[in-house]
């Protein structure tokens, strides 16, 4: 361990990787339990992808007829019963307390005329369940958690990317990463690590996800020996923007439909009548996405290959108050006034239901000392997530992960970091600078996105998936040979060379799991099969994935 002195080193009880809703909630809980806590974030604090969440946070409460049992049932049904039922139960039971807690920390949700929290309807939810702040609920949540955590006093390491988990025998003892700003390496020692790194959307070109969502956490956990679960369950949100090209995939909140928006094809037909006459536009996301996809494929799509989503029958002031950011987004980026005419929308890669396999109660992964929460973890949502269940997932299981990680850290002796692991990781990370020739990472990323969009999309066939795996193999070779220009100082090309490896790992896991699942589940479906099945697909290191 002698050469470790050359690295900047920090030591904490609990290290939290990711500063979105789940990471921040975990940090708050671990701090409350008396642990010394650090939060690492790829971006600046407060910019994590949670900020993009629009529609709301689900809790069964205000409607007297509603109860955790109904919320549980809706969640399980939405997930095609492929959920971890215990997680779904804990989630439904605990989300009301977690929402009220946010309010007590300063969050201001929209109100009813009685002065209570106003809840709105969303797809797949039997009752009005989504507590919201217009269509910027995620911002409200992240700001509330961020301010709470800063006041309680966690250390925040902003713009720091973790490139490897450090292990001592079979236990996690910290992480190794680098400061994006300066390119210097850093060792973060910890007795327990919580993975809260979010999703994987950037492996697809049409996505609602930000650059950060590259599957880092799942890859780091997998490489360190933790199991991944249900990796084929990728959610395509039915309504992303389709025009202009620069904003393709950008999310159009489900709240548009929750507030009464209707979907039509180019013939003016409300086509959801054909696919789900009972729930219509408020059907589950997988079904609405497939319906739009089918309409477009059969030639009834809009000019730019989408469907029309219309809320203009509502009073303009109502639309502006309930959907302010949608109003501005379309007005400023697409020259469309949504109070006067319809939006053009189509499916966009949105959310990863699969991820790190965890215990329901503790969010513990299969690797001792490693916990996971939020989108990085698997189980709660089964094969398809209901809208609003993500923000509640973050706070319910973020809290549980923080609690369990702090308890684990309190009992764990200090572990030893392995200088060979660190040196190997540093060598790999710097290799792209040393290559005299070769392509840059951007073209490899573009080609990866094409493969995933064309071959591992909403409808999947065995043939496409097999082709995708062969293509991914070639892309891995190319990614291993990319060359990076410039210095280590805030170099996005260099950053991408690393993110690319994570995206390739999770992409392969998605394709292999999809190939292994022999029945139709939900969000991701091999189109040739049509039974609903039970059971889960787990991937561990040393199994089929190369």
């Amino acid at each position: 361990m002698t050469n470790q002195t050359k690295y900047e080193t920090h030591e904490h009880d609990v290290l939290i990787i990711g500063a979105g809703g789940a990471g921040l909630r975990a940090a708050i809980e671990a701090l409350s339990a008396g642990a010394r806590v650090a939060v690492v974030s790829k971006s600046l604090l407060g910019k994590a992808h949670t900020v993009m969440a629009e529609g709301g946070i689900a809790m069964a409460n205000v409607d007297k007829a509603d109860s955790w049992r109904t919320h549980f049932r809706d969640t399980m049904r939405g997930g095609k019963l492929l959920n971890n039922w215990r997680m779904a139960q804990l989630h439904a039971q605990e989300s009301p307390d977690r929402v009220r807690e946010l309010e007590q920390w300063g969050a201001l949700f929209d109100r009813t005329s009685d002065g209570d929290i106003l809840q709105r309807a969303f797809g797949g939810h039997t009752f009005k369940r989504l507590c919201h702040v217009g269509d910027r609920t995620g911002l409200e949540m992240i700001r509330t958690l961020q301010d709470r955590g800063v006041q309680m006093g966690f250390d925040v390491f902003m713009e720091c990317t973790i490139i490897r988990l450090l292990t001592d025998g079979s236990r996690v003892v910290g992480a190794f990463g680098y400061w994006r700003e300066q390119g210097r390496f850093v060792v973060l020692k910890a007795k327990a690590v919580v993975m809260a790194t979010g999703g994987i959307g950037k492996a697809w070109p049409i996505t609602s996800n930000s650059w950060e969502c590259t599957g880092d956490g799942m890859t780091l956990a997998y490489e360190a020996g933790a199991d991944l679960l249900d990796m084929e369950f990728v959610q395509f949100h039915p309504t992303g923007m389709v025009w202009p090209p620069g904003v393709q995939g950008l999310l159009v909140t489900e709240a548009v439909r929750g507030e009464g928006g209707v979907l039509r094809n180019k013939l003016g037909e409300r086509f959801m009548e054909k696919y789900d006459p009972k729930r219509m536009e408020l059907s589950t996301r997988d079904l609405v996405a497939r319906s739009i996809y089918t309409e477009v494929k059969e030639g009834r799509g809009s000019e730019h290959g989408g469907a029309f989503l219309d809320i203009s029958h509502k009073p303009p002031e109502y639309v502006k108050q309930k959907l302010p950011s949608m109003y501005h987004q379309f007005k400023e980026l697409a020259d469309v006034d949504i109070t006067k005419g319809p939006m053009e929308v189509g499916p966009t890669c949105h959310y990863m239901m699969g991820g790190i396999r965890v215990e329901a109660e503790t969010a513990a992964s299969s690797l001792p000392g490693l916990f996971a929460a939020g989108e990085a973890a698997a189980g709660l949502h089964g094969a398809n997530r209901l809208g609003g269940n993500s923000l509640s997932d973050l706070v319910v299981f973020g809290r549980r992960a923080g609690l369990a990680a702090a308890a684990f850290a309190a009992k764990a002796p200090a572990g030893a970091t392995d200088s060979a692991q660190i040196a190997g990781s540093e060598r790999d990370m710097l290799a792209p600078f040393e290559r005299g020739e070769g392509e840059g990472p951007y073209s490899v990323h573009r080609d990866l996105q094409k493969v995933m969009q064309n071959l591992v999309g909403i409808f999947r066939t065995e043939e496409d998936l097999t082709t995708a795996l062969a293509e991914l193999e070639k892309l891995k070779q190319r990614a291993n040979q990319v060359r990076v220009e410039g210095s280590r100082l805030f170099n996005p090309g260099w950053h991408l060379s690393r993110d690319l490896k994570s995206m390739l790992t999770v992409s392969e896991a998605v394709a292999r799991s999809a190939l292994a699942r022999k029945e139709t589940a939900a969000s991701i479906i091999p189109s040739r099969m049509n039974q609903c099945g039970v059971g889960s697909i787990t991937w561990s290191r040393g199994m089929a994935m190369a």
């Binding site: 604090l45 650059w211 996005p492």
Partner: protein, 246 residues
């Protein structure tokens, strides 16, 4: 399709200058798309912060043709094409590299602000009309464009004794929260230096969330400070009572 010429600052605090790039224009393209084109095709190490590309995270602030803006919301077709489009980093913060600046000062200011502190025995009833004005402040996405444009920071470099518009907005959100129970007037006066603001409204003009920073946040807070510290009548009452508060 037509091309645009972008003149982008490349370099760091010590050395640097503008460099020109030719970028093909696509329909509906924004300045951030053009910067991504440069990264992906011409200069892979061009440093720029961004996250959501939807005006919700406030990461991609820069000065486009001299005006502080979110590059993700600045349409190329809104800018004149007969001369190069200039893209420079925010001037009030030290440049790290290219368009990326050191905004850590903002996070240090934020730490000084006492959190939301509810009244004891709160029943958590709040009405929309009372929440509306606070929700305006809570729309802030922390793009720091207001901090960048504020002349107290930009021209007078008062970072140590001034909080800046962003944090007046944050304090206003706490002070006007219907259930908050502490006063931050002393903090505003002594540590955040609200007196330095002479309400030129530059911050309001650049706010991408259209928060009326000066009218709705700063002026009412200035009034609070005046009421608490400079009201002659209250001063007299305090003197007679011999206490610091009324």
């Amino acid at each position: 399709m037509a091309d645009a010429i972008l003149e982008v600052f490349r370099g760091n605090q010590e050395a640097g200058g503008a460099k020109q790039y030719t970028v093909p224009i696509a329909p509906g393209m924004v300045v951030l798309d053009a910067l991504h084109y440069i990264q992906g095709h011409l200069e892979p190490d061009l440093a720029v912060r961004w996250n959501c590309k939807a005006g919700k995270c406030g990461s991609c602030s820069a000065e486009v043709n001299g005006r502080p803006r979110l590059t993700c919301k600045t349409r190329m077709d809104s800018l004149p094409t007969d001369k190069p489009i200039t893209v420079y980093p925010m001037k009030s913060f030290p440049v790290i590299k290219d368009l990326v600046t050191d905004v850590s000062w903002n996070y240090r200011v934020n730490k000084k602000i006492p959190p939301f502190t509810p009244k004891p025995k709160t029943d958590w009833k709040m009405y929309q009309e009372d929440v509306d004005r606070v929700q305006e402040f809570r729309k802030c996405i922390e793009c720091f464009l207001c901090q960048n444009v504020c002349h107290v920071v930009r021209d007078h470099h008062k970072k140590e004794e001034f909080g800046g518009p962003r944090f007046f907005v944050r304090v206003a959100g706490l002070e006007m929260h219907p259930l908050d129970n502490v006063s931050r007037a002393k903090l505003l006066k002594d540590e955040l230096g609200i007196g330095y603001c002479n309400i030129t409204k530059c911050c309001t003009e650049v706010c991408p969330e259209e928060i009326k920073i000066t009218d709705n946040a700063i002026i009412p807070l200035k009034e609070r400070v005046v009421d608490e510290f400079y009201d002659p009548l209250l001063k007299l009452v305090r003197k007679i009572r011999g206490s610091g508060s009324v």
